[in-house]
Amino acid sequence: MTHGHDSAVDPGRRFRIEADPESVEKGLVTLVLTLVELLRQLMERQALRRVEQGSLTDEQTEKIGSTLMALDARMTELREHFGLRPEDLNLDLGPLGPLLPYE
């Protein structure tokens, strides 16, 4: 007996063990990119704090900003290459809630 779901997301996804090798690989990619995204956001926030504190020269600010901008662009490329949406790069930590904010 099957149930119709009108939600856009398959709730069974969370609990099923995917045996299909292709989706195992995709799951790993998603996890890796999520962690990279976490680092990127942490670095970005750290940089913004330093800028706000005024502890960086203009040149340093420009350099950090350019690096982060390039990193953001690269992440977008990678994400799109694997067919992932921004909201796919998140981890549900159960009772701790989501890892990253929803954009």
Binding site: V9, F15, A47, E52, T61, T67, P98
Partner: protein, 261 residues
């Protein structure tokens, strides 16, 4: 064991079946009636139950069947629901429980009589033009000529601030809604926000509350939810119900009003 009602009630019509399609029956003791049904040991024995509870499809089927029984009984008389998978080896255990817990069960029964549970969930509203997107330059602020890197950082800061403000605003709205609705209820209980995977929505959930409302105030309660939903800018409200009073029989709720006898 699905639920408990007063001994005076006889809610089983004979057409109702429980989990796994089994027939339902009543077990009576201490002035109370327990609604019970047989389930297979293969599914509900201690070890298989544990692994079944990790299979969402099994949990869904079982939860819906469990709820169907409780809801059918609730349409006939006040009913105290049991948690899912309350399993005994035989009816003797059920009868023993009725005797041992008679006091608690009677208190719970009185508490939910002529009252229903309503669920209120709040989601943060979808962001509109709250701030510049990273791809576009920030506002009209006259900034001195700055490089693209520094400009990127400005945009990101504006975006993060806007997101944080929206989240704060949504949470504040959620708290205000929660408090306002408490005024119309006998009790309230907060649940953790639902996982977006299961709930199937992207916007963060900022309130997941259940309210115990006297049936004669149900219309007033629903109208209040509609009004609050219309006037709140930063959250979207969803009302579910009426439910049998699952959330108000386990002692985990914040009783707001003294219960009259």
């Amino acid at each position: 064991m699905y639920a408990v009602t007063a001994d005076s009630e006889d809610p089983l019509t004979g057409r109702l079946t429980g989990v796994g399609g089994g027939q339902l029956r009543a077990a009576r003791a201490a002035g109370l009636t327990a609604i019970v049904g047989d389930v297979s040991e293969a599914e509900f024995g201690e070890f298989t139950l544990r692994s079944n509870l990790e299979d969402l499809d099994w949990v869904e089927r079982t939860a819906r069947a469990h709820h169907a029984v409780i809801k059918a009984v609730a349409e006939q008389c006040p009913v105290v629901p049991m948690r899912l998978a309350t399993v005994y080896a035989s009816d003797r255990g059920v009868v023993q429980t009725l005797r041992q817990r008679a006091g608690d069960l009677r208190v719970a029964l009185a508490r939910i009589t002529a009252r229903s549970e309503w669920g209120v969930k709040a989601y943060a509203a979808e962001p509109t033009d709250l701030g510049p997107a990273p791809g576009r330059p920030a506002g009209d602020q006259a900034s001195p000529a700055i490089g693209p890197g520094a400009a990127y950082l400005q945009r990101r800061r504006a975006q993060l601030t806007a997101d944080k403000d929206a989240r704060r605003s949504a949470m504040a709205s959620a708290q205000a809604v929660y408090a306002e609705l408490c005024r119309l209820a006998v009790s309230a209980r907060l649940y953790p926000p639902q996982s977006p995977d299961l709930a199937g929505r992207r916007a963060p959930m900022v309130l997941n509350a259940a309210y115990l409302v006297p049936d004669e105030r149900a219309g007033e309660f629903a109208a209040a939810v509609t009004d609050l939903g219309a006037s709140a800018r930063s959250v979207r409200l969803i009302l579910t119900g009426p439910w049998p009073a699952y959330s108000f029989v386990g002692g985990n709720d914040a009783a707001i009003r003294d219960e009259g006898a």
